[in-house]
Symmetry: C3
Amino acid sequence: MGPETYRETQAFLKNCWYVAAWDYELAGGKLLARTILEQPLVIYKGDSGRPVALDNRCAHRGAKLSNGRREGDCVRCMYHGLKFDASGKCVQIPGQDNIPPKLGVKSYPVVERDHLVWIWPGDPALADPAKILDFPYLRDPSWRGKPDYMHYDANYLLIVDNLSDFSHLAFVHTKTLGGSEEYAYKSKPTAIERLDDGFRVERWHMDAEAPPFHKKVVKEKNRVDRRNIARMYVPGIFFMETLFSPAGTGAKEGNLKGAKQYRNCQFFTPETARSTHFFWDYLHDYDLDNPAIASSLNVSMIEGFNEDKFIIEGQQQVLDADPDFKMNGIVADAPLAHFRRVLAKRIEAERQSLRSVAA
Amino acid sequence: MGPETYRETQAFLKNCWYVAAWDYELAGGKLLARTILEQPLVIYKGDSGRPVALDNRCAHRGAKLSNGRREGDCVRCMYHGLKFDASGKCVQIPGQDNIPPKLGVKSYPVVERDHLVWIWPGDPALADPAKILDFPYLRDPSWRGKPDYMHYDANYLLIVDNLSDFSHLAFVHTKTLGGSEEYAYKSKPTAIERLDDGFRVERWHMDAEAPPFHKKVVKEKNRVDRRNIARMYVPGIFFMETLFSPAGTGAKEGNLKGAKQYRNCQFFTPETARSTHFFWDYLHDYDLDNPAIASSLNVSMIEGFNEDKFIIEGQQQVLDADPDFKMNGIVADAPLAHFRRVLAKRIEAERQSLRSVAA
Amino acid sequence: MGPETYRETQAFLKNCWYVAAWDYELAGGKLLARTILEQPLVIYKGDSGRPVALDNRCAHRGAKLSNGRREGDCVRCMYHGLKFDASGKCVQIPGQDNIPPKLGVKSYPVVERDHLVWIWPGDPALADPAKILDFPYLRDPSWRGKPDYMHYDANYLLIVDNLSDFSHLAFVHTKTLGGSEEYAYKSKPTAIERLDDGFRVERWHMDAEAPPFHKKVVKEKNRVDRRNIARMYVPGIFFMETLFSPAGTGAKEGNLKGAKQYRNCQFFTPETARSTHFFWDYLHDYDLDNPAIASSLNVSMIEGFNEDKFIIEGQQQVLDADPDFKMNGIVADAPLAHFRRVLAKRIEAERQSLRSVAA
């Protein structure tokens, strides 16, 4: 675990899929203005159902296309009326018969899958939809959740860091997601798997009080055996499987009778080097007919995420004030340190390949 | 029409007259703090009626003179009481008998004419009031209007561009100033005169529905023959003559019976490279006894200008995000491209002459 | 008095005591986030009563310690639970047994004295509490005041300047602290003592109307002989003794019968190069049982200080707009010019000593 500096957080991996939006954000054919990796985009779903992402500026005079009008799968700039199709090609200039064949705006590969709209900011030739991470619970009817969005005034890696060390549950989320400070002192990661696309951490906490967000929905006060399996993927995607089993009934040995489970997906997409789009859903596998459960979990998560946001946006302010501040590693940083190494390696590889293309 | 970049909009022509204020903004001897071409000024009218413009900082410790007190044609800094006359010379230092003869603040040539206060930011020796553009309708009792001011968070040339291509009426102002999108497809400029101080565009639109702002005041639904003669002058002054004549009565051939006319003056003065003072008046030549007409036209124009402002301030944000964005010309850009060439030539000539003076 | 530029105000003297807070700001063990000389700090008083100042960022991941929790004389970061003692040393890492001996945050010498909390931003080895300026009236029961705080969006030296020339009373504070413009024309400093830690100015104004703030509390309209003895100390500490004596009763010759006196302390601590913490108290020596007097004086001072703030923050904006603006000296600038010379000399000496240590 070497020291890390703020400057490392300034580079982005470009040849990979990022979540750009939840499908509900594009409902009704809305032209969504959204900046991804410092690039202002207009994102929308055409009449054909096809999702489209274009640079959010008309090729003519730079007016925002998001201030324009969607027409079918096209968008018309409402300044002088130029019309662009889903590939970004200009297909009409009012009052002018000839359209320069190269006139257009940059388009980006976009894929909608399981309610998520994914974008590929890098080389379009490399954009393989098969590389999109699968989180099957979003389409599986035996799970129920409530997708949501939050904006952070902080670099996305500070949020990845946050999720890489669950000891923060004890201090940041004592009364919400965590439950007690003892969690930090008693529980230790039982397995950290360093993977070449991120890491996996499994953590058991036996015979513990259930955390407030869980007690609020199950209305039981019994102690639980709690297991979290967290999986973090490059560039900033987090999946977690959570299990609460009645304490001492042998969950560790495979008896899941009476267990209640959660599946948590979180997607961090850089807006800029200092701000992040955060898409998430927290799904449960019980009492699926009761909509109050997903609502309660959603509210609990927002409460908890706001606790994180307060701390993390404070970190960003500290780093802004002194970009040369050197962080100091502790043992619990192993996952995040590994993640940053893996990410840095990928970014470096991407740079090398760009250089060799140019040479 | 070559491509243009944002950087071109950063240089200002200095040896020319800009509108600094409407006379009503200086009523009651007010000390107006206004930045012109990046220079913070205090502007006021002295007891003698003379308009004055000085750098808005006391020569002593830099306190704002606009926070001071006007005394006759002078202004007193209300920090330590130094007093400056209309030429900027310090004429009193309380508690000190000798005044350094060179102590003073920079003053600027200012002329008040037809309710407009003009300023010359460049070399005072070249400031010839005869070069001030004449817009006689502001003093002609057969025309009535309502002078007004608007602030733009955008470079002034983006507003000049806007007025250089009236096809935008169809898309930006469909329901206000324009009237219908067909205007963009059917009408073409019938004459573009490239002039060495700007351009002139004349545009007829025969047998058309009258635009909403006109219908609102004349309360007729008859179709009209519509003519606009637009004249744009360096550095950013726009005059327009507008004619609505009953459709098919031969207005093009000179029969103006039943015609209603407008005269429109718009003055764009850079506040900074990214913001603009916009002074305007929209005058009519009929029913002069009815003040509701000028009021209605004023409200309609504000509605329309806010539509422009929304688009244009969006453009500025796009250019701020990527100053290297290259615009792409279309046929309708001929007037604006000519205007930028003429302006660039003038700015370059001004630079050359400064260089030769220095050499 | 040479010209001065804005750039001179950017350097700070570091080896000296600055006021960081009033004691009441730390009441209840509060973790106060405060930036001093561009450095974000957390300041608090431990259970032992000891005042503590630490860099406001956890050594681990930079979370703000002011978002943490005070425990005794220690502070715990509420991100991952690291705990730091009053010296900044890390004393606990939850879930980790070994603490790297060098892990910690920077601490600063702090001293609480007479309700003021002083900090030494420079070399701790040189921090001698004996160098703290004594203002005995804060602990003397024969004086009563009301300590207060104000924030300025301006460099602290612009406020020092303000207090270095009392002719501003006449113009800025005509109706509040000053009383009349004649003060500027009639009164002259009778003695300016140039000292190597600042200056001393004594000013008499005989047979004058009492200023509004004084009339408001004493409810008399009699004319007064007024004396101000102002003392300004490096880096930005101002003490003033004010005397109002019935006019013509020989105050200058030592007869203080019927005199009412004030003691004024003002401490200017740079927050950044462009903003200042201003701590002050204005104490009186009569009618000590009447709390309304201190309240009225406090309100009057705030009114007056807001007049200064308006002018001075305007100055800062002027300097921000043109950092190369050169101020011009007048005779009344002698004290401030001397003060800046003394301060510049100290700052330069501090740099030289740092360089010789490094060599």
